[in-house]
């Protein structure tokens, strides 16, 4: 008798938990935790940043969509502007060794210096572990996490899915919108969009 009651409950519990086990980051849910090595040698643990807003930026220095943001200076501007306001900005490099965008720590440090990039840290993710954890599809895909550790934005950097530098000035930047609205205590109006760009170069 006991078995017959317990079984359905257990199965129901497993069914409830299953999505948590396989699911990647989803808007409105807790951001999956990770620990990674930054290009500057430091160890970064996402959950150590609870209490702050965190931006995740998927990066590949050979991707023309990323080039549009960096060569226009837009990404650096965003990094500077938001880290100045206490936001933790993590650039994530999920290209596998041998693939476009794969860099060593020192190559990434050179790139950051050359481009005058201002992330809090650039995280090396050659196994694609963090990328898969967030189901990152493209560079530059952007994720915004609130101080409670909840994903409040996941998707494209802006509403102009092109490689044209001229499209940067007129674009609506979804990261700005999400951070501004959340910091003002408002609801994030556009919490998810299709992330555009180059596919993340995971190992096959």
């Amino acid at each position: 008798m006991k078995r017959s009651i317990l079984y359905p409950i257990m199965i129901a519990l497993i069914l409830c938990l299953a999505p948590l086990l396989i699911a990647a980051a989803k808007v409105g849910e807790a951001a999956p935790d990770f620990t990674a090595t930054a290009s500057n040698g430091q160890t970064v643990k996402l959950s150590a940043n609870l209490g702050k807003y965190v931006v995740l930026e998927w990066h590949n220095n050979g991707c023309p969509y990323v080039g549009k943001q960096y060569n226009s200076g837009n990404m650096q501007r965003l990094q500077k502007q938001w880290t100045a306001r206490g936001v933790v900005w993590l650039t994530i490099l999920s290209s596998a060794p041998g693939k476009q965008g794969y860099v060593t720590a020192s190559e990434e440090n050179d790139y950051v210096a050359k481009m005058h990039a201002k992330p809090t840290a650039a995280l090396l993710d050659p196994t694609g572990e963090i990328g898969h954890l967030y189901d990152a599809k493209t560079s530059p895909q952007m994720v915004v996490i609130n101080p409670q550790g909840i994903v409040i934005y996941d998707g494209a950097i802006d509403d102009k899915p092109t490689t044209d530098l001229n499209d940067v000035p007129g674009a609506t930047n979804y990261v700005n919108l999400a951070l501004e609205q959340a910091m003002a205590g408002k609801k994030v109006e556009t919490p998810a969009t299709r992330p555009y760009g180059c596919s993340v170069k995971y190992a096959n």
Partner: protein, 300 residues
């Protein structure tokens, strides 16, 4: 990003058009790892009659371009027409795409070669001219492991004649192949429905016969998870296909629109209302075969 010599090319084209007059402009131009060519189905244009142009992309092995919905990454080719008064271009007729990519990221597009047919409308005022020069600027993203954006300008000049235009024998094979690769209207007696479960859309099709395969290509972005396996189950008279929802889909959708590919590579445009989750009764005619499909289905 450095523009791949587009400026000198543009200046050369501009000079050429000044020097050579109306016939200037090449029908073929390079794009990254390939070429684009503008082709006409007929030898001439008859004012008031519709006609077809084609954009033929020839790519190096392994390189691809994208469908109207590119899937997880990439972007579709974008066209900007330059035409005489009295000619207007319709939407591109997109051939059935292929699923491209690895397990984590799936795109929709075309490898090797593809011809995009573009129907053109004409008005009778065109009769006042002898020829019509039609140009197009194409922005296209060409990808293999990496992606390279390209821009090309091609144009062609067709004589305007009052009699019925004769088909161009040189382009006939390309147009025939392109037509064959277009999805068809789904037969009227086929019935489709879509159930909205929490995590998936379940697309059921009653075709009146069995099928060994069904693949769905969503026309709209961020509805289904492109990379998720599409769970196919044959039924006595059709199939059931479970499509995992996209992570970016936060609101219910009214319809699922796209291309359905069945056995033998036959593909069809379908547009199916989505039944509300839990609601047993129909919401304004689920199961009704799709109407106005090509009109709505082609545009994004």
């Amino acid at each position: 990003m450095r523009r791949r010599n587009s400026k000198p090319a543009a200046i050369a084209l501009g000079l050429a058009s000044l020097l050579c007059g109306a016939n200037a402009g090449a029908t073929e131009a390079p794009i990254p790892h390939g070429t684009i060519e503008i082709i006409a189905q007929n030898e001439s244009i008859e004012p008031g009659r519709d006609f077809n142009l084609g954009l033929h992309f020839q790519l190096e092995k392994g390189w691809h371009i994208y469908w109207a919905n590119p899937g997880d990454s990439g972007e579709p080719p974008r066209v900007e027409w330059k035409m005489p008064k009295g000619v207007t271009a319709e939407e591109i007729e997109w051939p059935t795409p292929h699923r491209l990519g690895t397990s984590a990221i799936v795109d929709y597009g075309y490898e090797d070669a593809v011809t995009l047919i573009v129907p053109m409308r004409t008005e009778t005022i065109l009769a006042a001219q002898q020829t019509a020069q039609i140009g197009v600027q194409v922005k296209v993203l060409v990808c293999r492991e990496m992606c390279i954006p390209g821009k090309a300008q091609v144009s062609l000049t067709l004589p305007i004649k009052s009699q019925t235009a004769a088909p161009n024998s040189k382009t006939a094979a390309l147009f025939a192949a392109a037509r064959k690769s277009l999805p068809q209207h789904a037969p009227k007696d086929w019935k489709f429905s879509v159930d909205d479960t929490i995590s998936s859309f379940v697309l059921s099709g009653n075709l009146g016969h069995q099928t060994t395969r069904a693949i769905f290509f969503p026309l709209n972005e961020s509805q289904i998870d492109n990379a998720a396996p599409q769970d196919f189950a044959p039924t006595a008279a059709g199939f059931r296909l479970t499509l995992r929802k996209s992570q970016q889909l936060l609101k219910p959708i009214a319809r699922l629109k796209g291309v359905l590919m069945l056995s033998d590579d036959r593909a069809y445009w379908i547009e199916v209302p989505v039944s509300k989750p839990g609601a047993g009764q129909s919401n304004s005619g689920a199961n009704v075969p799709p109407k106005h499909l090509l009109e709505e289905g082609k545009t994004t």
